[in-house]
Structures are given as structure tokens and as C-alpha cells.
């Protein structure tokens, strides 16, 4: 968006120089189209969320957020993210390190598997876990015998969310590691560093912005995931409802202020994500001028609106 706005001041130039390829009218038309498109599809929905949330004033807004069921949904979402993000962070760094530093049989298979969750519909991802852990599933009888619940309980939500957000850190970190090569790691090795010393003193600091970016995306998706979680959660109010699920229920019950109040929190999260992403890109490009270090992500953070 900033790109199209930044283009505006330059329009004066076309008066003096006939070099510009487009006429003034064409330029204005293009700019108007870009702004209109972005406004309609990006800005308007986010603004609508906040307008609807504050439709009955700030009091109603905070009352809706303070509702015990809303608070439970927020708590569950935070808990899920708090478990899922560290899991995928550890896995992602390990997988990226493995793929970028070693050659082994099945390496391309592993790389493909990491991307699998993105190619599977989230609903299917949820169903996989129902088939595995549900009452009629493979492990269902075993779980029931031991009085353990996975489906329609927190473990199922965590599992489904982990699956769906699996590739985010790994892909991000892998791209940075591959772009940077491993000369520095080899240098550290000849200087006497052990594997762990190389990881913590050279590799992780080197890819830290990639890691941060991956974590932010992973967190945003973990909090916003709807499809897979919806299948495994069972929608038990105050117990297995995450924020997106809670928003849907409120909306279906015509409790618009409540729905949009909770939605506004997720929308805020997406804005924070964008800001941190920009900051990370700036931090990467500033000290080393390595433009290749943060390649554009093929997959954008999924929409967090219901």
C-alpha cells in the first residue's frame, strides 16, 4: 500500500517531461485502481471490524470482551499458541538445519513433507486427527480405556494447530539458511567450536530475523486457525472454543458487538504481525545490506477474520 501512496508526489514530473511513458490520466487511473482495490479488500474489512465492535460504545465493547466465555476462548487461544509456537520453533530450526547443512537420502521427501500441511485443506487436517483419535478412530478405544481425551479437548486443538502451522518456521528459516550458505559455520568449526557452539553462537544469531518472522507468522496462524480446530474442538462453550470458533458462535447468535469485539483482537494481532514483519525486514536489510536474506514468503499469513 505504501508503494502506491509514495507514487503520488511524483505526478508533477509529467508536466515538465514528456519522457514518462503513461499520460497523467492513465497514471491517476492506475493509482485509483490500486488504492480502490486495496481499500475494498483490505482496509474496509478491518475498519468494519472495529466499527462494528464499537457500535454500542466502548462500554459494550469491553463488557463483551469481559464475558466469561470470551475470556475462556482468549485463554484457550493463548494456551494453544504458547504450546504450538515453541514446538514448531524447535522442529522448524532442526529441520531447516538438517536440510540446509547435510545431504542425505530422502532429503527431498522431507522437504516436500514439510509443505504438506499447506497443501491439505484445514478441514481435512482436522478430520485426520478425528480419524486417529476419535471414538471410532484407530487409537480411540485405547484412549477411552485409559480415560484420555484428545478429540473435543485441548490436546486435539493443540495437535491440529501444530499440524496446520508446521511449515511456517521451517520454511522461513530454511530460506534464510540456504541463502546464507554455511561458510561461517565451517569457519567456526576450524576455529574450534563444537556443534552446539556453532548453533548458538553462529547459526541462530545469523538467521535470527528469519526465525522471528517465522515465529510471528506461526503465532498469527495458530491463533487464527479456524477449519482444522473447528473439526476437533466440539465447540464446547467455555472449554474447547478458541477465539475464531467463539466469534463464529457469537455471530450466529446475532451478538454482533461480542463477535466483532473478539474479532478486533485478532485483527489487532494481524496488524502487529505486519509491523514486526516490516521491522524484521528493515533490521535484516540495514546492517548487512543482504537483500537476499528475507525472500518473499510464498504463503501469506492466513486471514484472521471470521
Amino acid at each position: 500500500m505504501s508503494g502506491s501512496i509514495a507514487a503520488l508526489p511524483h505526478r508533477h514530473r509529467t508536466h515538465g517531461q514528456a519522457i514518462a511513458s503513461e499520460s497523467r490520466g492513465a497514471r491517476l487511473f492506475l493509482i485509483a485502481m490500486a488504492l480502490g482495490f486495496l481499500g475494498l479488500l483490505l482496509v474496509a474489512p478491518i475498519v468494519t471490524v472495529f466499527i462494528a465492535a464499537f457500535a454500542k460504545g466502548a462500554g459494550a465493547y469491553f463488557a463483551a470482551l469481559g464475558d466469561p466465555e470470551s475470556l475462556a476462548a482468549i485463554r484457550l487461544t493463548l494456551l494453544t499458541a504458547a504450546i504450538v509456537v515453541p514446538l514448531n520453533l524447535t522442529f522448524g530450526i532442526a529441520a531447516a538445519w538438517l536440510i540446509s547443512h547435510y545431504d542425505f537420502r530422502g532429503k527431498s521427501l522431507l522437504t516436500t513433507l514439510i509443505d504438506l500441511p499447506f497443501s491439505v485443506s484445514p478441514v481435512i487436517s482436522g478430520l485426520i486427527f478425528v480419524l486417529l483419535f476419535g471414538a471410532q478412530g484407530w487409537l480411540g478405544p485405547f484412549l477411552m480405556d485409559h480415560d484420555m481425551r484428545v478429540i473435543f479437548a485441548v490436546p486435539g486443538i493443540v495437535l491440529a494447530t501444530t499440524f496446520v502451522t508446521f511449515p511456517l518456521v521451517a520454511r522461513e528459516v530454511l530460506a534464510v539458511m540456504q541463502a546464507q550458505g554455511h561458510d561461517e559455520e565451517e569457519a567456526a568449526l576450524t576455529l574450534g567450536a563444537s556443534g552446539w557452539q556453532i548453533l548458538f553462537r553462529v547459526t541462530l544469531p545469523k538467521v535470527r530475523w528469519g526465525v522471528l518472522y517465522g515465529v510471528i507468522l506461526c503465532n498469527a496462524r495458530a491463533m487464527g486457525e479456524f477449519g482444522a480446530v473447528s473439526v476437533v474442538s466440539g465447540h464446547v462453550r467455555g472449554e474447547t472454543n478458541t477465539m475464531p470458533l467463539h466469534i463464529e458462535i457469537l455471530y450466529n447468535e446475532y451478538s454482533f458487538v461480542g463477535a466483532f469485539a473478539v474479532a478486533s483482537l485478532l485483527a489487532l494481532l494481524s496488524l502487529v504481525t505486519l509491523v514486526v514483519k516490516k521491522a524484521a525486514e528493515w533490521a535484516v536489510s540495514e546492517p548487512s545490506k543482504g537483500a537476499s536474506e528475507l525472500p518473499p514468503l510464498p504463503i501469506k499469513a492466513q486471514g484472521v477474520l471470521p
Binding site: 561458510d183 561461517e184 565451517e186 576450524t190 576455529l191 574450534g192 567450536a193 563444537s194 548487512s288
Partner: protein
């Protein structure tokens, strides 16, 4: 001998089944600069990486100061490695880069500080400690990489194309600086390069590699004056290649008299390698043996020297290099007929095509 490489071989995967290095043996003496010289793909960098332990040889052994390190991890080999890309830690300051190896070895803070400052002034970057690598020029980064490699007091310093990424002027400056630096520190150094000028200027000992094998090893002038193989003769000095035949015990190539290759029989074909600077041109007033008439096709003045393109009587093209002074005093112009005075030629029986 500080470094000894014994019958080392290495091949990478299934790439044409060709070995990157096959059966290479050589040694490098303590306190000297030894150069691994060769065209790209000759296996010189692979050899250096095997000495550092970054690649594992398929066969053979590597001995550093009497200790067989073939199966020792790079971290325990006590080598300093300088990468072509410098491989400085981009997130650390110059000071932290140089201190890295000593911190790994748990030296005390004052000790580290003193040593880093000492090294930074040795590489003439005393006030650069707080900078990041991205704030340095290529030549400065190279010197930081050198200081970092020396900080752990390695037995051997390994330099992989250390000047490859620098522009010509900086390269020459840094080359001279490194020669002086090495004389000062006397650290045993192995240098990989494809630039023969670099090899000749810097090292006491040159190992010339081609296609994963040692072509010849020895002092630079030895290789230059007595090339053992056609490859050495053509690689060093950009030689002209003339086809010749043995006639009545003497060799004749393009109308020029040369020594016959040792052991060649009457009528054998051979190749004569003639360096551009081993030919002198004379105006045809005087008569001498081993002299033929040639035509001057082109004169190219390159600074103090002149490159002359000749057509020999049999149509063969020959390049000659003479000083501008000589050319001006003889007065040779394009189109002139000149006598070719051959000072030196290396002759080899085997068929060799460049």
C-alpha cells in the same frame, strides 16, 4: 615437514565418476608459503579443505607436524582457514570475530583483549574493532579473516583463493602485504590460487595441479625453467605451441631450429612450447643459425611492453613480447619481414593439444 599429504584421493558422489583429487602427495615445509596452483576444477580447493578437515579423503592420509590427522575433526587440527568469501561472522564486530576462537578456548578476558588488539594492529586495522564486517572493504575483510584465523595460533594457515574476490589493484597491494606479513610471522602457509603471478610472487614452493593430479612440484623458477610436462609448459607463461619434427638429430619447428626431445627418434613429431618473452626479433641484416624469416602482422603496445603477432613461414601464428625500448631501437613496423631468434623452447614428444 609441517604438512604432508600422502596419496590422497577424493571423489564427489556420482559426478561423471571423475575423481576431484586422485593420488596426490606433496609436502609443505615449516615457515614457508607453499602454493597449490592450478586451473579451476584441478582439485586444489578440495585438497585444502581436506587438509583443514572440512572434507574427508576417500583414501590416503594427511599429517600435520608428525601427527596423522586424517580422521581428526577440523576443530582439533589447529589449522587456520581463510575462505575466499572471508566467512566473517556478520552479526559480530571485528573484535568479536577475531576473539571467537579464543573465547571458544576459554581464555581470560584481558588475555583475549590483548591478543585481539595485537592481531588487529598486525593486520593494520587497529581502530576497526567496533565495526561490523559489512562496514569494511573487501581488502579489510580479508585482513580481519586473517587475524581471526591467526588468533588461535594455528600450526598451519590455509588460504583459499584469498585475493579472488578483490579488484586488481587491491589484489596486488594485499599480495605484497601478505608476503611481508608471512616473513614477519613465519607461520607455515598453504595458499590455493589459479593465478600464477600470485603463486610465483608469494611462495617458495609451488605444487601445480591439473585434473586432480600433481603435474609438478618445486621452486617457482624450477617449474618455469624446467617444466616436466606439456601442461606445465603451457600453463606457466602462456606459451606458443609449434609443431615440429626430428630431422638428423635436431628438431625443426616452423622453420626454427630447436633441441630434439630426449629419446626422440628420427622423424618423430613433437611440440615445442615457446614463451612470448623467449623470442627476439632482428632486422634481417645479420645472419645466424636457427633463424627464419617471419612477417609482423600486428603490434600492440601494452604499457612498457609490446605484443607482436607474427606469421611464421609455414603460416603458424606466434606471439612475441618485447620491451618498447627494444622495438623502438630496432624500428619494427607492421608488415616488416623479421628474423626470429629463438632463445629457449621446451620440447615434448607426446601429442598435446591446448
Amino acid at each position: 615437514m609441517s604438512v604432508a599429504v600422502n596419496a590422497v584421493s577424493k571423489s564427489f558422489g556420482s559426478r561423471d565418476g571423475a575423481a576431484a583429487v586422485s593420488g596426490v602427495s606433496f609436502s609443505a615445509a615449516v615457515g614457508e608459503i607453499t602454493t597449490l596452483l592450478g586451473p579451476s576444477g584441478s582439485g586444489k580447493s578440495t585438497l585444502l579443505r581436506m587438509i583443514a578437515g572440512l572434507e574427508r579423503p576417500d583414501a590416503g592420509s594427511i599429517v600435520l607436524e608428525g601427527r596423522d590427522v586424517t580422521h581428526v575433526s577440523p576443530r582439533d587440527r589447529s589449522v587456520g582457514f581463510v575462505f575466499q568469501s572471508y566467512a566473517l561472522f556478520r552479526h559480530m564486530t571485528v573484535f568479536d570475530n577475531v576473539a571467537f576462537g579464543m573465547r571458544i578456548r576459554k581464555r581470560t578476558k584481558p588475555e583475549i583483549k590483548q591478543k585481539v588488539e595485537e592481531l588487529l594492529s598486525l593486520v593494520q586495522l587497529p581502530s576497526f574493532g567496533a565495526r561490523f564486517p559489512s562496514q569494511l572493504s573487501g581488502g579489510q575483510r580479508q585482513r580481519v579473516a586473517l587475524a581471526r584465523a591467526l588468533a588461535t595460533e594455528p600450526k598451519v594457515l590455509l588460504l583459499d583463493e584469498p585475493f579472488g574476490a578483490l579488484d586488481a589493484k587491491v589484489r596486488v597491494e594485499l599480495r605484497e602485504w601478505l608476503a611481508g606479513f608471512q616473513q614477519q610471522t613465519r607461520v607455515t602457509t598453504l595458499l590455493v590460487t589459479h593465478d600464477q603471478q600470485e603463486a610465483f610472487e608469494l611462495s617458495q614452493h609451488v605444487v601445480l595441479l591439473n585434473e586432480g593430479k600433481v603435474e609438478q612440484a618445486g621452486a617457482p623458477h624450477e617449474l618455469y625453467d624446467h617444466p616436466a610436462t606439456p601442461f606445465v609448459a603451457s600453463f606457466l607463461g602462456g606459451a606458443n605451441v609449434l609443431k615440429g619434427t626430428v630431422r638428423s638429430g635436431r628438431g625443426e619447428a616452423s622453420g626454427l631450429q630447436v633441441d630434439a626431445p630426449a629419446g626422440a627418434a628420427e622423424g618423430d613429431a613433437f611440440n615445442a612450447f615457446v614463451r612470448p618473452e623467449d623470442i627476439r626479433l632482428v632486422k634481417p641484416a645479420e645472419e645466424r643459425d636457427g633463424v627464419a624469416l617471419a612477417r609482423v602482422d600486428r603490434l600492440t603496445r601494452v604499457g612498457p611492453s609490446v605484443k607482436i603477432s607474427l606469421s611464421m613461414p609455414d603460416g603458424e601464428q606466434v606471439t612475441v613480447q618485447m620491451s618498447r625500448l627494444e622495438i623502438d631501437s630496432i624500428g619494427i613496423e607492421t608488415g616488416d619481414r623479421v628474423l626470429v631468434d629463438l632463445r629457449d623452447a621446451k620440447v615434448f614428444v607426446e601429442d598435446y593439444a591446448i
